[in-house]
């Protein structure tokens, strides 16, 4: 059974259909990817899945149960965590405190929460900056902190919204490595990414959106050879 | 029949009051829309304008409506000065609470009210204009009218000025370059900046305009209202209710919000009792926040 099933998800803002009848699923233990040009509705879809926005119509099922209509914190408690494209660190808190704040979800006792947070920091190569205030960190670290905080809630499914955008090549390799390690831990991932190198190298299954609608899906090779996808990205050949 | 008469008379007073409220609300909503800040000194600025109008009348015999020529530019300058010297620096300060700017305007309001008390004492003042009690009666124009209604002269004249000012503001925002730049800044500050609009200058002009509008309201209210230094707080709250009611930053909303509040207050005073009018105001305010968070403007957009 699929871990996440999105069925006919539709979101209309005013007169504009941002997400148009999108159906896809993510199998447990895999890395799924959502790609598409800017404004294709990828982040809106994430917001629909984790409950920030109500669906206009359609369903979202997680572990076989409907989660649409639940508030984001309930979705998170069920094991679905997300990161934000525009990173939202708790600015005046240290990196460690940021992660502790999300560790409390599974470890109500403070000592346990701290221990777990330190493990997560080690896992995401952030131990060296544990004591730093997150506001002043370079983007690469903040992007990883975003992942660390989501991981600290011990999710079964992790939604990563452009976790690699704006990184330099070294940071990029490091992040890809971390995403692989997360998969190895048995955590399912759904990722939004523009970086084709990242998508092609790590994802098992790709869903392509354009103008809010799904135009293709399949394995990386299938998608790369799909003329509709090429057209969406490069425009009509003239 | 008497009941209908009372109802219509109450409605008329409400609309006249609402028109003046709209001018206060317009200033507030303009500032909120462009600068994204809440000006808790709004009523105090109006109080300053009222003192200007009062002294012009008492010392020089200048009619309150003529004093508009003084209060509008004077308050514009005061607004620009406040924005440049106080608000603008605070917007750049990094602090834990972004609400600092709201608290700053509270401080400004406290100072203005206190200075007024020190210089002018806390006495109640009024401007006894010759036409204060004049009114036009329906029966004078329509002999066989089944009901009797009256229009107070100062209220009606003030309402007329309020309409003219509102129209002028609308024309300014729609048709002048500065007006368009202000609207652009309100919509998207970053985009406006990239289009080469001097955002810093626009915020200054906006705060000046907001102050000028409430200054005009001061001149329009003074023929009918008692003046005392602490009256600002009440009008600041009224400005808010209007802004929330109308939808933040919406000019049409502020006008409709002003009229609705005017009618509602007038009705509360007639049918429930004078003392409860402020409660009614807050009930509207809270109900709006809870049920109509985007105000009347949001409602219009939805349909």
């Amino acid at each position: 059974m699929a871990l996440l099933e999105v069925v006919g998800a539709t979101k209309v803002f005013g007169g504009l259909t941002a997400v148009d009848d999108v159906t896809f699923s993510v199998e447990p233990g895999t890395i799924g990817a959502l790609i598409g040009p800017n404004g294709a509705g990828k982040t809106t879809l994430f917001n629909l899945i984790n409950g920030f926005l109500p669906l206009t119509s359609g369903e979202v099922r997680f572990k076989g149960e409907r989660i649409d209509g639940l508030r984001p914190h309930k979705v998170c408690a069920r094991g679905l965590a997300r990161t934000f494209q525009v990173v939202k660190p708790l600015q005046r808190m240290s990196v460690l405190d940021n992660v502790i704040a999300s560790s409390f979800l599974r470890f109500p006792d403070r000592a346990d929460a701290v221990r777990h947070a330190r493990e997560i920091l080690a896992f995401t190569n952030l131990s060296a900056v544990a004591g730093e205030i997150s506001k002043g960190l370079p983007l690469g670290f903040r992007k990883r902190l975003e992942i660390a905080r989501a991981l600290a809630t011990q999710p079964d499914l992790l939604l990563l919204d452009e976790a690699c955008a704006g990184l330099n090549p070294t940071e990029l390799d490091e992040s890809i490595e971390i995403i692989r390690r997360i998969k190895d831990k048995g955590i399912t991932i759904l990722i939004i990414e523009h970086h084709m190198k990242v998508i092609m190298s790590i994802s098992d299954h790709i869903v392509v959106l354009n103008y809010g609608a799904k135009i293709a899906e399949g394995t990386p090779t299938e998608v790369a050879g799909n003329p509709a996808v090429v057209e969406a990205y490069l425009g009509k050949g003239e | 029949m008497v009941q209908l008469e009372v109802f219509l008379q109450t409605l008329i007073s409400g609309i006249l009051l609402g028109g003046l409220y709209a001018v206060i609300g317009l200033g507030m909503t303009l500032i909120m829309g462009v600068m994204k800040i809440i000006n808790l000194a709004h009523g105090e600025l109006m109080m300053v304008a009222m003192y200007i109008a009062f002294w012009l009348f008492s010392l020089l015999g200048v009619d309150p409506y003529v004093s508009l020529l003084v209060t509008i530019p004077a308050l514009f300058v005061l607004g620009v000065v406040i924005q440049r010297t106080l608000i603008s620096p605070v917007l750049k300060v990094d602090s834990i609470l972004p609400e600092n700017q709201v608290i700053l305007t509270v401080g400004i309001g406290m100072i203005l009210a206190n200075l007024a008390t020190m210089f002018f004492s806390s006495d109640y003042r009024s401007t006894p204009v010759s036409y204060a009690a004049d009114a036009w009666y329906l029966s004078d124009y329509w002999r066989s009218s089944p009901i009797e209604l009256s229009l107070s002269v100062p209220w009606t004249v003030s309402f007329g000025f309020a309409l003219a000012i509102t129209a002028a503001l609308w024309g300014f925002l729609q048709h002048t370059d500065t007006g368009k730049a202000i609207r652009a800044t309100a919509q998207d500050k970053d985009a406006a900046l990239m289009m080469g609009i001097n955002v810093e200058r626009m915020t200054m002009v906006t705060f000046g305009l907001g102050a000028a509008l409430v200054g005009a309201a001061g001149s329009l209210f003074i023929p009918m209202y008692y003046l005392y230094p602490a009256l600002g707080g009440k009008f600041t709250l009224i400005a808010f209710v209007i802004t929330i009611l109308g939808g933040l930053g919406s000019t049409q909303g502020a006008i409709i919000g002003g009229i609705i509040l005017g009618i509602f207050e007038s009705m509360t005073a007639t049918y429930i009792g004078m003392g409860w009018a402020p409660v009614g105001r807050f009930v509207i305010f809270v109900a709006c926040l809870v049920f109509l968070p985007r105000g009347v403007a949001g409602l219009m957009k939805r349909s």
Binding site: N50, R71, P72, H73, K74, C76, A77, A81, R82, F84, P89, L90, Q91, M93, D97, I100, A101, S102, F104, L105, P108, R110, A150, T153 | I38, L86, V90, V93, S95, I96, L97, P98, E99, N100, V102, I103, L104, V106, G107, I108, G109, M110, I111, A113, N114, L115, M118, G233, L237, F240, G275, W276, P278, V279, F282, V283, V286, L289, V290, P293
Partner: protein, 327 residues
């Protein structure tokens, strides 16, 4: 081991407590006037700490703490007036009344964010004031409620009661800020959407912060009724003299700092007493407070405790003008 580190952390607190507890024994301080000033200071510290929890730590800036203060004060006053019991029953009773009132206020206001929450709470304070003015059968309206027979003539008992309240509040704050709740409060302040998506029930924790903050402020209100012996709506639901002063106390002292509310209360009370003592300036006290507020916001946005180093540097620079100019 744990004991000694606990003591190290709270050495300052222990010293302050001993000093405050001993204050009435010092002859210079043991005048009716000095004790009154200390009582006021402690009252404002408690209100400041409770505001600090909701607004400083949890980021929900309240412009309406007078609502809680007034509710507490009137609970005590109405119990005395209509219940015929001692006003001191108002303290336990106010916990219930203000607790329920806070839930209602929270339900209405907490769906609003940022400045709109501030305005919502401001409106709550005003609604309660006007209601108290108009419900004469219950509150005696603008006449106010007078407690004819004060419990004690001497100030010491009042002083120790409010000191106990302050110590209790301080301990509650320390426990809270270091707990899971404390982390959640700050997470909500820093980014509500991030907090929500990380599994924090933001509505619930904001409500918790608001109820604790409200109840503590309400207790001070109930104490005030017993201490002053007279309340009226203009005084206990005052926008400027309660809600705004509350904000000033914490902003002057330092938002989201442990000692900020104490420092702020001390500075504000001493200032207002000094100003009152000078008849020429006395009428200008609002102006002076306003100027102080503006100066603090622009130059010490984190208050005396938060910008401790900055204050220190300013003082030193003043002492050694030759070194001025360099930052």
């Amino acid at each position: 081991m744990a004991q000694s580190s606990w003591f190290r952390n709270y050495k300052v607190a222990a010293c302050v407590l001993v000093a405050l507890a001993a204050a009435p024994l010092v002859p210079v301080l043991n005048s009716s006037y000095m004790l009154h000033v200390l009582i006021l200071m402690l009252m404002w510290s408690v209100i400041g700490m409770s505001w600090n929890l909701l607004s400083g730590y949890c980021g929900q800036v309240s412009f309406g703490h007078a609502a809680f203060f007034g509710l507490g004060a009137y609970t005590a006053g109405i119990l005395y007036l209509h219940g015929g019991v001692s006003g001191w029953w108002g303290l336990p009773a106010s916990v219930i009344v203000v607790g329920l009132g806070s839930l209602v206020i929270g339900y209405i206001c907490l769906r609003l964010r940022g400045p709109y929450f501030a305005l919502g709470t401001l409106a709550m304070g005003e609604v309660l004031r006007v209601t108290a003015e108009n419900m004469e059968w219950l509150t005696e309206g603008t006449m106010g409620i007078m407690i004819e027979k004060r419990t004690w003539v001497a100030k010491e008992p009042f002083y120790y009661i409010v000191l106990a309240l302050a110590v209790g509040t301080f301990v509650i704050m320390e426990l809270l800020v270091r707990s899971k709740w404390g982390y959640y409060f700050v997470a909500i302040r820093e980014d509500q959407d991030a907090a929500e998506s990380l599994g924090i029930d933001t509505t619930r924790y904001k409500t918790i912060a608001l109820v604790i903050s409200g109840v503590l402020t309400g207790l001070v209100g109930a104490f005030y009724t017993n201490y002053m012996g007279f309340i009226d709506p203009e005084v206990v639901f005052a926008l400027h003299d309660i809600s705004i002063i509350t904000i000033m106390v914490v902003m002057v002292g330092g938002v989201a700092t442990r000692w900020g509310p104490f420092a702020g209360a001390l500075i504000m009370i001493v200032l207002s007493e000094l100003i009152r003592a000078m008849p020429k300036i006395g009428t200008a006290h609002q102006t002076l407070f306003g100027v102080l507020l503006i100066v603090i916001i622009i130059y010490l946005p984190n208050g005396v405790m938060g910008d401790f180093r900055k204050v220190f540097r300013l003082v030193r620079r003043g002492a050694a003008p030759a070194r001025a100019g360099g930052e």
